[in-house]
Symmetry: C2
């Protein structure tokens, strides 16, 4: 076995190409990224890329199929949810997102692929984003049934909360629109607003109900 090997194994090279391509696609999108640049960054000839992937399109699909930030977060909050630790559930989600997940490259990759309406984008949405919403909405529904939250449409509430977080990341990633506060302060404020918002109205002062009655609704197929 020679000290300095002159050849790298197939799978390793392939991974290196994927990695180089991913950061370029994230920065410039699909049509903005040239196969020549990818080859350069991966330190190989352009021809080698096409030995591993039939086309640029296939390479792009391979990248989108790999990434996924959701399952980790989901497993983290599942146990907290079982213990009905409302504040903790929302706090963990907020801290995760505000703290920087998904990272800048992945956010951009998802946005680009959604805008360029690549088919993988729909897959990503259904397999990851939607799974997460179903979980969060289910939790909110349960806490409403418990009488802990005011009766709101759980899917809308879930979307509202995730909206605060993801939009905040969006402004950060796309416009470098940082806020002066620390990530922790920011997520604490988001959670505070949300918990307060979901809280049952105090018995005295009647508060406007949103468009839902008090009686438990039949659970129809959820949209996200």
């Amino acid at each position: 076995m020679p000290l300095s090997q002159k050849r790298i194994s197939g799978p390793v090279r392939k991974a290196k190409i994927i990695q180089s391509a991913a950061s370029l696609f994230a920065k410039k999108g699909f049509s903005g990224t040239k196969t020549r640049e990818i080859a350069q960054r991966a330190g190989v000839s352009e021809a080698l890329i096409f030995k591993h992937f039939p086309s640029k399109e296939d390479l792009y699909a391979a990248i989108l199929a790999e990434e996924s930030p959701v399952p980790g977060l989901l497993s983290k909050i599942r146990s907290l949810a079982e213990q009905q630790k409302d504040v903790e559930v929302f706090s963990v989600i907020a801290q995760t997102v505000v703290g920087g997940a998904p990272d800048s490259d992945l956010m951009r990759l998802i946005l680009f692929s959604a805008l360029e309406n690549h088919e993988m984008s729909d897959m990503f949405f259904h397999n990851h984003i939607r799974v997460f919403y179903d979980f969060l909405a289910g939790y909110i529904q349960q806490r409403i049934d418990d009488g802990a939250f005011q009766p709101v449409q759980p899917l809308i509430a879930a979307r509202a909360f995730m909206g605060m977080l993801i939009y905040h990341r969006l402004l950060t990633v796309l416009f470098q629109a940082q806020l002066p506060q620390t990530a922790e302060d920011i997520s604490r404020t988001f959670v505070n607003l949300m918990m307060n918002g979901l809280k049952l109205p105090s018995p005295k002062g009647a508060v406007r109900r949103s468009g839902q009655t008090n009686k438990p609704r039949t659970r129809t197929a959820r949209k996200v």
Copy 2:
């Protein structure tokens, strides 16, 4: 004056080109759109485009410079804000956004230009988005000073509310992720959550404060 004129005036042609280009840039982004397509859609020769715009880049800039949804909304809510009609202020904003503004094309145009980090994107952010945030945060600050809202960082609260709305539109535009409820129901729920969230905690049950003290803060330059 002939019945069927064979030539169209310069400015009109120019507008037609801008319009055709805008919808294509919105659909495919800058590098995904070809000047040939633009010419075809506008019903002119490719050469004519370059008579009106020195380069594709200049055409793109002209489009981004034109669009702006913010001023209309701002003028609408200013008077409501003066009358301190909290629910109405937030409702008008919510209904406007959830109801479909900015429209799909403009949303995509803004996102694309931000991702492809066109310089016009920063301009757009500073001249329009930020102006709006400053107004909304100012309003929230004032209502805190009035003792009507709990003390939160007004910029974070503004971002939270706009996050609910814009993110909702984003899911709609990018993933066709519609919710079963009507636009009105959805915005009512958003407003309900936000107003409840901003409300002063009931005097008895102490509620966790977010990362801000009660004393009025010196107003430093705002970030959004």
